[in-house]
């Protein structure tokens, strides 16, 4: 019981004398690394693990601009094709220099978010003024997600991490359920990767970064396109902004809907 709630402390009498046995000297205390249990033994539901997501968030779009990053996602969490939860925030402030947008299985998003939040509290506890940076967080996510996929038990998520680095430069990256990761001035998950990414790329000036206004306008435009073209999208979204003055979540914003053209569409 004593050692159940203390992962640091070693059990009492470890390496101590055991009647009828030899001492275990230091070095014996590191047990040979065993394969994780879930790989060697069947769980209560057999050996098959989740291979699909249940309640899902759709696209997330992140744009890096000259003074920070913006990450946008609509507020819908679907259950299959059912628009089940329509007012769920999927862009989160993590600390003063990180925002995170999550797509994919929402339970998995919530789970990883809890773990990250605990890390932020640890940062506070140390009271040394050192905080997590977006690059470090996305690196950590990559390790966790790749590890999970290697155990054939992936977290079904596709996240966008953005924020400001120690030296003040904006950072934006995407990590997916296999631990694939890349950084760019625009990253997107879900349908936005097909619909929004090209729209942003074709407007990128070659010689400079976007400005905040341009990024903001592109987000608005892309969320509109996504709403019209992606059936798992909703007309309401939030935008997380991270710049030198901190992190904020703006919205919920409405997509300006106009269905007058619907009557003119024929042939489907």
């Amino acid at each position: 019981m004593l050692n159940n709630y203390n992962s640091m402390a070693q059990p009492l009498w470890q390496n101590g004398p055991t009647p009828g046995a030899f001492y275990n000297f230091t070095g014996g205390q590191q047990q040979t690394q065993k394969l994780p249990k879930e790989l060697t033994a069947a769980g209560p539901f057999g050996t098959k693990r989740s291979t699909s997501s249940i309640t899902t968030g759709s696209s997330v779009l992140g744009i890096r601009y000259d003074g920070g990053v913006m990450i946008a996602a609509d507020t819908l969490v679907s259950y299959g094709s059912l628009a089940r939860y329509q007012n769920i925030l999927r862009v989160f402030p993590i600390n003063n220099n990180i925002i995170l947008g999550g797509g994919g299985d929402f339970a998995d998003i919530q789970s990883i978010k809890r773990t990250i939040d605990q890390k932020m509290i640890e940062d506070q506890c140390y009271a040394d003024g050192i905080t997590m940076k977006p690059k470090a967080l996305s690196s950590w996510l990559t390790r966790v997600l790749y590890n999970r996929r290697s155990r054939m038990n992936p977290l079904y998520i596709d996240v966008v991490v953005g924020g400001i680095e120690q030296d003040g430069t904006p950072y934006l990256a995407n990590v997916d359920l296999r631990g694939r990761a890349y950084e760019d001035y625009v990253v997107a998950t879900g349908f936005a990767r097909h619909l929004a990414l090209p729209l942003v790329r074709e407007r990128k000036p070659k010689d400079r970064e976007f400005t905040a206004e341009e990024a903001s306008e592109l987000i608005r435009k892309c969320m509109e396109v996504l709403y019209y073209r992606d059936t798992r999208n909703m007309a309401q979204y939030t935008v997380g902004v991270c710049n030198a003055s901190g992190t904020t979540i703006d919205g919920p914003c409405k997509v300006s809907e106009n269905w007058t053209f619907a009557a003119t569409i024929k042939g489907y």
Binding site: Q10, L12, W13, Q14, I130, K135, L137, S139, Q166
Partner: protein
Amino acid sequence: MFRNQYDSDVTVWSPQGRLHQVEYAMEAVKLGTATVGLKNRDFAVLVALSKPSSELSASQRKIIPIDDHLGISIAGITADARVISRYLRSECLSYKHSYGSTYPVSRLITNLGNKMQTTTQRYDRRPYGVGLLVGGYDEKGPHIYQVTPSATFYNCKANSIGSRSQSARTYLERNLDTFLNCSNDEIICHGISAIHGSLPTDEMQSRNESASQLNITIAIVGKNQPFKILSEKETQIYLTMASEKGAPPANQPYDDDESTSQAGPSTSGPRDPIVAVATEE
């Protein structure tokens, strides 16, 4: 040294609220040769004195690199230091693997302290018989940490541990205010000057009181400077530079803080043996 009944195990408190086994382990630090750690605005420097155990052997390694941003200098039981350095290295490595960045020095040392604490509280362990000076650099700048066998650690402006280190500490205290704005060359020379007073007296005479002959190791870490142990050639340059910069306070008799000969207060009841250090509170 005389015994009493409360000094047999780390698990025994003395009636005065002291842990003698821990205090004895602190004494082990003083058996090692001296080492000095100090820092300026952007760099941390470790200087260690090494002495071959015999004419035919090479000297023990005193400075152990841990990671690009961190290294330790040791005084005490070298074998214990290897266990600690292996721990520190694997912590730094796994941190780098997870976060792609360097382990903040203060956090690493806090965790090391907690690891070391367990050895001061269990019957089946003994405290590590080694003191560390940690020199590191992270986003908060350069750091010098002192870690003792009692598992206490101190964030230092500068410090020195090991045999006859008191005169080095006196030197450091005297020049403490100038360190922050020193150049790298100057801070290394200060390190050499500080450690010079820790030389055994006979050695000093045989070396003809010349700092340029010292058998020392120097390491530096800081802004855009990964942890580096200076080569023999570089060390020689600094030794010459230090001796040119003026005679180090070598001949002054060191204040012998380690003398254990003071008469203990005679109180009734069981008495603790008098050792120089008290268990730190």
